[in-house]
Amino acid sequence: MKILTGNDLVSGDVIWWAGDGWSRQVGDSVDVGDHGEDLARTEEAALRVVGAYVIDATVTDEGVRPAHIKDRIRALGPTVRPDLNLKPNDADAGNWVI
């Protein structure tokens, strides 16, 4: 599947296109098919996102998983600061990106 990601213009937070808006959770991502580039342009023009780009991802038992490690780290947060990533109660969360 193709999913769309970028950073919130104001906060800089990593965000994922969820179909009807943006989410902080990669698991909310939806397949944008061939419309990702158009969506990125529209959303950037609306000042809701900066640096939007389309990536490959798959759906696994744990939810949507970006194909590349860089995007998996973007999805999780820094693997060396479990207190600051999106799975603060999971000591092994860093393994998810490998």
Partner: protein
């Protein structure tokens, strides 16, 4: 320390207000990201992997307690409670909101700080020796020249759009603690027949094409240093490549046209500069120099250090260096706790170090390119009290220049350019070699990790260097041996095929085993490597 005059302050204040307007225009859509990006980068604001990142300049790595306290306050108020000290002696905040950036810069301006020239193709923040002014072996304090160059280079209209970024370092000792020869231009202050001047090195750097800078002049009198650098920059600005960013640094120009031809052109330009009479007035250097006059050290202080506490004694032996003034010492504060993140400090730790600087170090501290901190003026009688406070705050690691004193870039945990994570690897290595006796047995061993070819972690200059690469979406690590950023500068050589994260830790252990088996009395790891070469290490690693 240098203090802003009204001109310095008005420049910085005006820049804050200019950026506030630019941010507002971006937030209302009057500026597109393409239009805004170069403006935010000129103010140190990057868009990184997780958020906006703000890089704050710490000129030549020198800070007052008040400035350090402000850095801690900003970390607590605007970030997630910590900051990251970099190999450029700067500080980075990882979680900045765009709308907050002008307020942060305004707060920095209240303590004479800014984020100017921490990005872009300009002359970047000048770096220097963390022992400047307190080392017995320097010919002069290099910081007045660094400050003069800061003023000369700030918003220099001719050098605001260079072919590529440009890094200058100034030192004044035979011992190079600042990786001077790995800068675009390195200056080493020397004394010749009683006159202060500089040896000049040009075309060094790391990145994808590492080079040790060759000397291009053995002496430039102090009053002509700025003019000579102007000539160096002019030749680079005219002929440096703008068609390919990977070949745009001055090192490529010097390499492609040759050192002799570059020197010839610089001398030609320098002769022209002399005719123009553009040397800064000596009164200005004298004015700046007065800010760096040696403080009024107390006399009659005791040289004794009570070493009854063994943990304290271990720390003193490793972290405390000789000071030029009797009864004083230089304290190195490790930002490399064994399970921590190299260079990171919490807001509370930053606040503590600010307080220690004010109470015990004549209100001054330094940041090192090895991502540690220094209290430069400490009475020996105060060492135990300082150690106790550092220990309570998790800052009393005794590992300066040992294998666990690892330089590591933020890597793929934070950096949008990185290919692999540096920090988890640094932590694994630190834990493998955690035993204090084992570290001491290995002695000076500088280990440096970069998460990509841009080499922010100085891997080329590590006695042991590690470069993270992306191999079909999987992190892989190349191992290098034999680099040095010191006065004996050299570039590390790749051992061979790369490793997984665990594999490279095992390989390092084999490398250190060979060193222990082969070394002769007094040899550091680097000395042994240089004597016996790569072959035995390679055989041990790859079998």
């Amino acid at each position: 320390m240098y203090r802003y005059d009204s001109y310095d302050q008005s420049i910085v204040d005006a820049r804050v207000e200019e950026f506030r307007d630019q941010v507002q225009r971006r937030l209302t859509g009057a500026l597109t990201e393409d239009q805004f990006k170069p403006l935010r980068l000129m103010n140190g604001l990057y868009l990184q992997l997780h958020a906006y990142m703000l890089r704050v300049a710490i000129p030549y790595g020198t800070l007052s307690g008040k400035q350090m306290r402000k850095l801690g306050e900003i970390a607590a108020k605007y970030d997630k409670g910590y900051g990251h000290f970099t190999t450029r002696q700067n500080l980075q905040y990882n979680w900045i909101k765009l709308a907050d950036a002008p307020d942060i810069l305004a707060e920095l301006a209240t303590v004479e700080m800014h984020a100017i020239q921490t990005s872009g193709n300009c002359i970047r923040n000048i770096s220097s020796d963390q022992y400047a002014g307190v080392s017995a072996d320097e010919v002069a304090d290099p910081r007045p020249w660094a400050e003069l160059l800061r003023q000369w280079s700030s918003f220099h209209p001719e050098f605001t759009y260079l072919p590529r970024k440009f890094k200058i370092c100034v030192i004044a000792s035979d011992d190079d603690r600042a990786a001077m020869k790995l800068h675009d231009i390195g200056l080493k202050l020397v004394s010749k027949d009683g006159v202060i001047g500089a040896e000049v090195y040009a075309g060094g750097g790391m990145g994808r094409t590492p080079m040790v800078a060759p000397q291009i002049r053995d002496f430039v009198p102090e009053e002509e240093i700025v003019s000579y650098l102007e000539a160096c920059l002019r030749v680079y600005n005219r002929y440096g490549r703008r068609d390919n960013k990977y070949k745009a640094r001055i090192k490529i120009l010097v390499h492609e046209i040759g050192v002799e031809e570059y020197k010839r052109q610089v001398e030609e330009e320098f002769a022209h500069m002399r005719e123009l009479g553009l040397n800064p007035p000596t009164e200005e250097l004298d004015r700046i120099r007065a800010f760096f006059a040696a403080p009024a050290y107390e006399t009659g202080l005791s040289e004794a250090i009570d070493r009854a506490d063994p943990a304290f004694a271990l720390w003193v032996d490793r972290q405390v260096a000789a000071h030029k003034a009797p009864g004083y010492a230089i304290v190195n504060i490790s930002l490399k706790p064994l399970t921590g993140i190299p260079g990171d400090a919490s807001a509370e730790q930053i606040e503590l170090v600010a307080t220690l600087a004010e109470q015990y170090s004549l209100d001054e501290l330094r940041v090192t390119h090895a991502q540690n901190l220094v209290l430069p003026h400490v009475r020996k009688a105060d060492l135990y009290a300082i150690w106790q406070k550092l220990d309570e705050a998790g800052l009393a690691e005794a590992n300066l220049d040992l294998i666990t004193d690892i330089i590591a870039c933020p890597g793929l945990d934070y950096c949008a350019l990185a290919n692999a994570r540096s920090i988890p690897l640094a932590q694994k290595i630190a834990q493998r070699f955690a035993d204090a006796e084992r570290q001491t047995e290995l002695g000076e061993l500088k280990l440096k990790i970069s998460g990509c070819i841009n080499a922010c972690g100085h891997h080329h200059a590590g006695h042991i260097g590690i470069l993270g690469v992306d191999r079909k979406g999987v992190e892989n690590f190349q191992l290098l041996l034999g680099g040095s950023g010191a006065e004996d500068a050299s570039l590390g050589q790749i051992t061979g095929p790369g490793f997984s994260e665990d594999g490279v830790v095992d390989a390092i252990e084999k490398v250190t085993d060979i060193y222990l088996a082969e070394r002769t009395d007094g040899e550091r790891f680097l000395d042994t490597y240089r004597r016996i070469g790569m072959k035995p290490f390679k055989e041990a690693i790859y079998g």
